[in-house]
Point group: C2
Chain length 330, copies 2
């Protein structure tokens, strides 16, 4: 900066003013400074800037994995929105969903240059690790039921599941089987609860849930179990990938979809439209989730508030070819 100032024949403060777009710099001076900057390849040092300003203009995102579609799409949306607001994103992956893992990440986060954190995971893992968030670091949580203690942004899991199950019942199925995700997952539990509630409210039999772990393979295994049950005519899967596995299992066992069995998923990943048959599924608006997260976090940062509460992002059912009335021979 001093070099630029010297070359432009001004003081370093004037260089600073130009760099920050201050108004009270005469056009000719501004141009000289910009010239000098260009010539010397000057770039402001963000460490010094952050030190002086007391903020990093950076948001940390803490998560277990990018491997699930939901996470990676949420992160992408967060990154896009953050960039839009002039914030950078720092990724903090936690190796395993263990207490130690989470704690480790947050210890690092404490030293990390972030103004706030978005947590994409179950909040009970934070609690279990007895985490005290570094003071001054604001938090927004995704995929959690901690709306009473933290600001939470989430897809409206319950409503999405309700839509899918009701859709199947309305097609005329007696009941709907469910392939659920891991028990630790809040989204998974919420979807299962909504599924059960709809069935109970409609006075239907509630079949035992088939437990999966979000992967297509676990869906396949669940599907094999269900394929053996001739009364099973409708299956609601907690995500699209498990639905893919279910489709494969049904196919291998000679049960046609949707003629013999209807299958619905959750997420609406791009591939779902190309499954065999194209999958009826619940569409999640990840972009909106990302937007709300960043907006909520920046509000907190700017106003130094922390208001617990949950923002729910609506879902929509996308009807494709994997659901039909029972006994439909097409």
């Amino acid at each position: 900066m001093a070099d630029v100032a010297r070359l432009a024949g001004v003081s370093s403060q004037t260089v600073s003013r130009v760099a920050n777009g201050h108004t009270s710099v005469v056009e000719s001076t501004r141009r000289q400074v910009l010239n000098a900057m260009q010539q010397l390849g000057y770039r402001p040092n963000s460490a010094a800037r952050a030190l002086k300003r007391g903020e990093f203009r950076t948001i940390g995102v803490i998560l277990f994995t990018l491997a699930t579609t939901g996470n990676s799409r949420t992160v992408e949306a967060i990154a896009a929105q953050a960039a839009h607001e002039g914030y950078a994103i720092t990724l903090i992956p936690v190796a395993m969903p263990t207490q130690d893992g989470v704690l480790g990440a947050f210890t690092r986060l404490g030293e990390l240059a972030v103004d706030g954190v978005i947590v994409i995971m179950e909040v009970h893992l934070l609690d279990a690790a007895n985490l005290v968030l570094p003071p001054g670091v604001q938090v927004v949580v995704v995929d959690s039921d901690a709306g009473d203690r933290y600001p939470v942004v989430d897809t409206d899991q319950a409503d999405g599941a309700r839509q899918a199950v009701r859709h199947l019942l309305e097609l005329g199925h007696d009941t709907v089987h469910h392939v659920t995700g891991p028990a630790e997952s809040f989204s998974s539990e919420r979807r299962a609860l909504a599924w059960r509630t709809v069935l109970e409210d409609a006075g239907r039999v509630v079949p035992p849930v088939q437990r999966g772990d979000w992967t297509a393979l676990s869906g396949y295994e669940a599907g094999l179990r269900l394929a053996g049950d001739p009364t099973c005519t409708a299956i609601f899967c907690a995500n699209d990938q498990m639905a893919l596995g279910v489709l494969r299992a049904l196919h291998e066992r000679g049960r046609r979809v949707p003629a013999d069995v209807s299958v619905a998923g959750f997420d609406d990943i791009p591939d779902a439209a190309s499954y065999l048959p194209p999958l009826t599924t619940v569409h999640q608006d990840f972009a909106e989730v990302g937007r709300q997260c960043v907006q909520g976090l920046l509000d907190q940062i700017r106003h130094h508030t922390r208001e617990p509460g949950t923002v729910l992002v609506p879902t929509t059912l996308v009807e494709r070819a994997s659901t039909a009335p029972p006994g439909n021979r097409r």
Copy 2:
């Protein structure tokens, strides 16, 4: 820090020494300082640290999207390895693969607190934008042919494609059709070139390529075109998602896989094992790519060198149920 020093009854320098694990602090003093830190909730300010040390311990990752499996898995691996080395990851998404987009990201990067950058995209987009990388910011590139100018880490695209095509020829197919990715993609072009070369070397007819854009939908469209050609008995798709689309198209047109047509993919995404039928595909070792990227970048940062060259990460063919000899009626 001054507060901690006061409370512990030592100088701030001693606090600094404790915080950085220096040796020459007597145990009793160290404990006092740690106590004071705990009590006051002290955590080092990373901006000041970075300013003093002249490094950020942060790596920037610049990319177009996390939506493709390859990218998100590479990023995940990079993040894991970086964390292992005590580095944080800053994500810089570029909205569109246009010159402006890339330039914008790098301008921001210049101000960003990073010691180095990993670029997950075509290097010609950097060139097209006439980018001068900020001095002092080291670069490693993924998915590019710029090995003569930048250090490049990449999956061995050519060998992977060769394995897939040879596998199909060895099964007895006269030739192999190809569904390729976008022309701007280096991986895509490299896979296509290897496909063509294997066919030519074997003296086979080289059918026209079917152009896709990595999505399952584009694969579906390509598949519809190929399904109409009765001489087409083997299809090599440049990624698994397009293969998914091809499978759907073949299915809809009544062409059985692998009895009538064999299909192979590339990537080995987890879902591929659950396709109908389970997909024969080329396995990419994304974790290794991430490891090599970080390692290479840190080497550069630490030794202030920049050695162009390409590190190729080997691939393996995973044979599943989507390929078989031609005319195989199972």
